[in-house]
Structure formats: structure tokens, C-alpha cells
């Protein structure tokens, strides 16, 4: 079973791109999105509850906005594994409370066998995550490419 999770807050500008991409993908590829061995979830600020969303699945794709630093052009698509994420336990500079990295790290430390062992993160580089409903133009423009990338990834993972 594969779960596709769109993460982020629509009230925080580009942070809302994760759920937007997943929604757009589910609308464009309804047959894939409604496949029996696949579940689709959207959540704004799950924190530790991300574990509950992941529990019971063998594979997961997380779609989320990422702050990649000055070298990464906003709207860029980044594909990586949880091990590539820095968490506060590995002394990253972020204090995002319980973010995706910390939550996955905790599951790993606890040896939780109900959490997918295959997790891929599709990141969309954000320009800004200030309060506001509008996404930046470059991030908005990246949505179609992200949808295609997500479809490719899903097909690859469920073996289509």
C-alpha cells in the first residue's frame, strides 16, 4: 500500500504548495489516485500526527514545500529520501517544532515497523512562507511539473 501525503498550510503562501500539487494530481489522474492500493491524504500541520498518517503503509510519498536556501531557485523540484533531511537532533538550524524530519527520525529511533520503509519526498522550493493565501508566481508555475513528477513517482512505486 502506498500513501501520498500533501503537507503544508495554505495560509502560509508557498507552504500550501504540497496539498495543492496533490489535489491537482488527484484531479488530473483520478484513476491512479483512486487505485485500490493507494491512499491520498492532505494535512496542514500534522507534527507528530504525521506518524498516524503513515502508519500501516509500506510506501509513502510526501509532497511538501521546502526552504532550500539561496542556491535553490524557487519552484525547483527536489526529490529526496528522509535521510537527506536534517533534523534538530542532527543539529540543523531549524526550530520548526516537530517537522517532517524530526518525526521520521523519531519513528526510526523507536524502530516503528508500522511506518513505511520506503519514503520519498517530493519537495517544491518555496520563495516565501509568510502569512497569506497567494503563492509566489514561480511556485505556482511549478505546480504542473510537480504533478507530472508525482504521477511518474507513483507509477514507479506501485509498479505500473
Amino acid at each position: 500500500m502506498l500513501v501520498v501525503i500533501g503537507l503544508g498550510q495554505s495560509l502560509r503562501a508557498d507552504d500550501g504548495v504540497g496539498p495543492k500539487v496533490v489535489e491537482a494530481w488527484a484531479a488530473m489522474y483520478p484513476e491512479t489516485a483512486q487505485a485500490p492500493r493507494l491512499d491520498v491524504k492532505l494535512c496542514a500541520l500534522p507534527g507528530l500526527a504525521l506518524l498516524d498518517f503513515l502508519s500501516g503503509f509500506e510506501m509513502a510519498i510526501l509532497v511538501d514545500a521546502v526552504l532550500g536556501g539561496p542556491c535553490i531557485v524557487p519552484g525547483s523540484l527536489l526529490l529526496f529520501n528522509p535521510a537527506d533531511l536534517e533534523s534538530f537532533s542532527s543539529a540543523a538550524g531549524s526550530a520548526h517544532g516537530w517537522g517532517v524530519a524530526e518525526t521520521l527520525k523519531l519513528a526510526e529511533t523507536l524502530g516503528r515497523d508500522d511506518i513505511p520503509n520506503q519514503i520519498r519526498v517530493l519537495g517544491i522550493a518555496a520563495a516565501q512562507v509568510d502569512l497569506g493565501l497567494e503563492m509566489s508566481p514561480e511556485v505556482q508555475a511549478a505546480v504542473p511539473a510537480a504533478v507530472e513528477k508525482l504521477q511518474e513517482l507513483v507509477a514507479e512505486m506501485i509498479g505500473e
Partner: protein, 429 residues
């Protein structure tokens, strides 16, 4: 050494962003600033012109940890504006939803946010490395709270079922009853948590607080009640703004709250436990007696014990509310749109949350005011640091910093919707 800077670029385990600055000159504390970016101010603007029924779901987005609190205060304030009284069943169900939020929020704070400070770990991940069963049980308890929120509220993070007038639909009775075994387990876990919290080594620090919380004679107040101040006694909930005012301070985007005489006050679990101990359920009181709890608790770090006891109370009340849940009739009252205004407070996991709204005759919000618990406690946090900092300056640099950080974390500041950094600076001027 005339000048010295301690800079912690990322204070972990708080819900959001802010900064702490301590300025020291020749060994004397000269300046303390807790600066927290405060999103609810923007929400007050967002809400203007919105339809009243959107308000609970918009304000819920202020926080991923305590969305129910925002829904309950806003719904009750708007019901006052429309002159609607929810049914007893709708009210009981609101308490169930609210207690499920207390469970997930308190367990998160006890084990994941403050717990590592009191057990000498950098984070819950490190704690999980040495005591995986402790963290795994905490996650199970937190999940029970989240799952119950989803069963009652439709979603586990920002629930959507509560509305002005009642509920969009009654949750399924059998689905709620199915929680009882988990809730019994959670109650046992919460009782263990109280015993564990009592064994921890708390910094020796007491403050003479004015405690403020909602109060009811018949139960441990969560959804409604009168305001009770340890200094001024009972205050009508709707008189909140007459007794507690907010002012701008130059160094902070957040407003600072003061009591009517200009002094600071404390809201939150410690205040509630001190003011409402008599209203706890017998089993929660028994748990307090077993650990030899003596009130008033004046040590802010011991908010941990108050949270643990409130988790016991929350589990007990959830069990009772589910056993007595028998939904009948329409889930929501019909509303007649009239212009009006209303205010209400409720007890968020972190303390009293006050809302006031003015609605026009087409049901649109003309004015919104939201006073979150963290904003009310900000001035108190600074006052605590003024008292604490001189005592810790002699400690090794790292330990002094950690003690100050821990104090802020003990408050469980809820600044979740803010951006990404809380910076701590201690500077020798």
C-alpha cells in the same frame, strides 16, 4: 569580562518562533526581552468581512496543536452574539472534543517538549534512544487524543464538525464507544505520568503569581465559566476586557497583557490547578494526594505536574462523556441572523483564550478580537526571567542558557503559526 554573548540560534521544542534576549552589564541583568511574532493579530484582520460560520474553521488554523480551543471560544462568542443556547448534548460533545485536544497537547508537551529538559536530553528523539518505551507510550496516548478528535470533529488536526449553533452532524455513538478500551489504557498511562512527573528534578524557583482561569463550581472548567483571579476573585467572563488589558511594547510584535492594576498574571495549567483543584474528579484528586501535592504550586517548571493531572482529568471526563452520549434530534440550532456582538472565553491547553466578535445584520464579521493565552503570559514570562536570570548568571554559561530556555518551554508557548526560529541571546553589555 565586560562583554559576553550567548547565542542559541534555534530554540527547539516550542510551537513556533520568537526570541529571547538577556542583556547583562557587569554581572547585573539590565535588559530582558521575549519577542514573539504573534499571528492572531493578522487573523483578526482576515476575519473582517467573513461570514460568521467560517470563523470557527478559520480561527482553528491559528494553531495545529490547539485548534479546538479557537473553535470553542469563537463558537461560544458568536452564539452569544446571536442569542443562541446550544443543547446540553451539543455542549457535552464540545467538552469531549476539547478534552481530546487537552490529551494530545498535554502529552506532547509533557513527553516531547518539556520532558527532555527534565531528563537531561536534547530532544525526544534522544530520549527515545534511551527510553523507547516511554516515548512509544506517549505517542500512543497522544494518538488516542488525536483519533478521538477525528471521531468527534471529523479530522485529527483541524477538526471541522463543530459549528455555531451546535454540530454539523452527530458523531456515531458506537464509533465513540469503541474508544473506551483505549481511554481506559490512556487513563492508566496518565496516572503513571503523574507519578513519573513527581519524581523529576525541577529547578528550585518560585514566583508569587496572580493566577487566572475560568472557574465553575460543578466541574473543572474547560469550555465555559466565570473568570477567577487569585487576586481579584470572580469576574464575569464577558467582563474580560475590563479586567485584562493589552499594550504594545516596543521590542515585541506581540501585545503584552496586564491585569487591571498594571501587573502581570498567569494563565494555563498551573493557574487552573491552583484555582480549580476542588473541582477535579475524585480519581484525579487521589492521584494528586498520592504524590503529596501541596498547593499552591508556584514553580512554573511544575506546570508539568499540572499537565499530567489535567491529562488524568481529561481521560476521566472523556470516558464519562462517551458513556453518557445519546444524541437526539437536530445537531445544530437554527440561527436568526441579527446584528450583534458577543464574547466568550474557554480554557485552551495553554490557558484562557478570549474571543469577541461584532457581526452585521447579514452575518458578516465587522470586528474580531482574539486574546490567546501565550500573549497573556508573555509579560509574565519576562517577569519570571527578571527573577530567574540573576540566580543563574553564576552557573556555567551553557547551563544558565538552558535554564532560561527551559523556563520558556515550561510555559508551552503556542506560537505555531509563526515562522521558523526562536533565537536566544544572552549578551553581556
Amino acid at each position: 569580562m565586560a562583554k559576553q554573548t550567548i547565542n542559541v540560534p534555534a530554540l527547539a521544542r516550542v510551537e513556533g518562533e520568537g526570541g529571547l534576549y538577556i542583556g547583562v552589564e557587569h554581572g547585573e541583568v539590565k535588559e530582558i526581552k521575549v519577542n514573539i511574532y504573534e499571528p492572531p493579530r493578522f487573523f483578526e484582520g482576515f476575519l473582517q468581512g467573513r461570514f460568521y460560520q467560517e470563523v470557527p474553521d478559520i480561527t482553528a488554523r491559528i494553531c495545529g496543536i490547539c485548534p479546538v480551543a479557537y473553535q470553542m471560544s469563537s463558537i461560544r462568542a458568536l452564539e452569544r452574539a446571536f442569542g443562541v443556547t446550544p443543547t446540553a448534548e451539543a455542549t457535552a460533545l464540545r467538552k469531549l472534543l476539547y478534552y481530546s485536544e487537552w490529551i494530545e497537547s498535554h502529552v506532547l508537551h509533557v513527553y516531547m517538549l518539556q520532558g527532555p529538559d527534565l531528563t537531561g536530553h536534547q530532544s525526544a528523539i534522544e530520549l527515545a534512544g534511551v527510553a523507547p518505551e516511554v516515548v512509544a507510550s506517549a505517542l500512543r496516548s497522544k494518538k488516542i487524543g488525536n483519533d478521538l478528535m477525528a471521531a468527534v470533529g471529523g479530522r485529527s488536526v483541524h477538526p471541522v464538525n463543530a459549528c455555531v449553533g451546535g454540530w454539523y452532524r452527530w458523531p456515531d455513538q458506537e464509533a465513540l464507544k469503541a474508544f473506551l478500551p483505549d481511554l481506559e489504557w490512556g487513563l492508566e498511562h496518565a496516572l503513571e505520568t503523574v507519578r513519573w512527573a513527581a519524581t523529576l528534578d525541577y529547578p528550585d524557583f518560585e514566583v508569587d503569581y496572580e493566577f487566572v482561569a475560568l472557574h465553575r463550581d460543578d466541574e473543572y472548567a474547560i469550555l465555559d465559566g466565570d473568570l477567577l483571579s487569585s487576586r481579584y476573585g470572580l469576574i464575569q467572563e464577558t467582563d474580560f476586557e475590563k479586567h485584562f488589558s493589552e499594550k504594545h511594547v516596543q521590542h515585541s510584535n506581540a501585545l503584552h497583557s496586564n491585569s487591571v492594576d498594571g501587573t502581570t498574571y498567569l494563565v494555563g495549567p498551573l493557574a487552573r490547578l491552583n484555582l480549580n483543584y476542588d473541582q477535579l474528579s475524585p480519581q484525579a484528586k487521589q492521584a494528586a494526594e498520592e504524590i503529596g501535592l501541596e498547593l499552591p504550586l508556584k514553580n512554573p517548571y511544575k506546570g508539568m505536574i499540572a499537565r499530567a493531572l489535567e491529562t488524568v482529568e481529561a481521560y476521566l471526563r472523556c470516558i464519562e462523556l462517551i458513556k453518557n452520549y445519546h444524541p437526539e434530534g437536530e445537531s445544530a440550532q437554527e440561527l436568526l441572523l441579527t446584528a450583534g456582538s458577543g464574547s466568550a472565553a474557554s480554557e485552551a491547553p495553554r490557558g484562557t483564550l478570549y474571543h469577541r466578535y461584532q457581526i452585521d445584520d447579514s452575518g458578516l464579521v465587522e470586528y474580531a478580537r482574539i486574546v490567546p493565552p501565550t500573549a497573556q503570559n508573555l509579560a509574565r514570562m519576562e517577569a519570571d526571567l527578571w527573577q530567574l536570570a540573576p540566580k543563574v548568571l553564576e552557573l556555567p554559561h551553557e547551563e544558565a542558557t538552558l535554564t532560561c530556555e527551559h523556563l520558556l518551554r515550561a510555559y508551552d508557548p503556542c506560537i505555531s503559526c509563526a515562522t521558523h526560529f526562536l533565537t536566544l541571546t544572552v549578551e553581556e553589555l
